[in-house]
Homo-oligomer: 205 residues x 2
Amino acid sequence: MAAKTQIRREKLREALLEIAERRIAENGYRALTARELAAEAGCAVGAIYNIFKDMDALVADVNSRTGARLEQAVAEAFVQTANAGTPKGQLVLLGRIYLSFVVANPLLWSAIFEHAGRVGEDFAARREVENARLIGHIVKPLRLLLPDAGADRVVLVARALFAAVHGIVSLGLQRRFLAESPDEVATQITFIVEAFCDGVAVRKG
Amino acid sequence: MAAKTQIRREKLREALLEIAERRIAENGYRALTARELAAEAGCAVGAIYNIFKDMDALVADVNSRTGARLEQAVAEAFVQTANAGTPKGQLVLLGRIYLSFVVANPLLWSAIFEHAGRVGEDFAARREVENARLIGHIVKPLRLLLPDAGADRVVLVARALFAAVHGIVSLGLQRRFLAESPDEVATQITFIVEAFCDGVAVRKG
DNA sequence: CACGGATTTGAACGTTGTTCAAGTATCTAT
DNA sequence: ATAGATACTTGAACAACGTTCAAATCCGTG
């Protein structure tokens, strides 16, 4: 085998992902071109295709990293209060953490969803796994709110709640769609999540 | 002036929008190319640019039409039950109408949001107006639910509720993101909206 | 009918992602 | 250490894209 080759490939792979991530964060994934990427990495354009099937696969890997960073941010910030607040407070906190990550990384985060339609079946499956982890954080406090519900139903509700918060963040971020400041978006998240929790509590009783 | 010219331009404009709309509905807006569009319309590629500033402007116009059709569908289906059901039932109905439109026109609807980042300031402003109409349908039943809230607050909540439903539909539609059938998505919408309404009602009392 | 300005045309331009024959580096065997 | 074989990298070339603009065409008018 070619040991030196494998090491070089690994280094280049890392460099390409690093550069692509920075460029996407600065200018969006649409502005990422193979030639510029190769030029900054100091390699030939063809070298990209030795490592990644195509540019879409590269962007999908960057998106995977972004998803992991998001999940990590949620996990870290959440353990601090996991055993403290009420389920309602925990769910609101989760939503706010999600929002703050998106505000801090708008273009990287956008890339995940804007690029979603361009990836193959395998990449989509991988992202589903990544998302399950994110949903897992919501499931825990939700179980306390829905003690009588089955596991499947809790997951379904968790997904719905995640999607709802995602929608508020998503439209809130798009300038001019629902013109709002991050503060207003945070207010909306709080309102929806709290109302949801109160509504669920009513039905329980 | 050239009367014949203006008529021809108007006819071509309509034909281009019609063709573009059908092609987007069939293959997504990314598959729409200037050359194919011109070929099917029986005109030169340059002719497109006599009528639209660029391809983005053309897609923006198609999206505008789609938005109008959506608003119309909501309005039509809603008048039938506006004076009948409870505010809660009306809001759930709104969400389901939204979902059914999206299921019927997935690619046209996706184009609105996937293309959002590519349009100029003026187009974005126009869409904000279009969206205000959609929000207006939510505001009416919401006022009954929040009789003590100011108009601004009701609009803010209406936007949040719309965004929440939008998020559920949006992620629900993306295959593999949160793998779900349209039925499951409908269940999620019902659950979120009802819980929201119940929660709001609790706080009122 | 012929003239002149407005309008339409499509070849050409600059970029894009992607490929693959040719060149270069690496490993093995003597 | 060297030669041969194998694997890898390279960047010019390709097809397709949106967009432009000199040239051709059409239209209303004197």
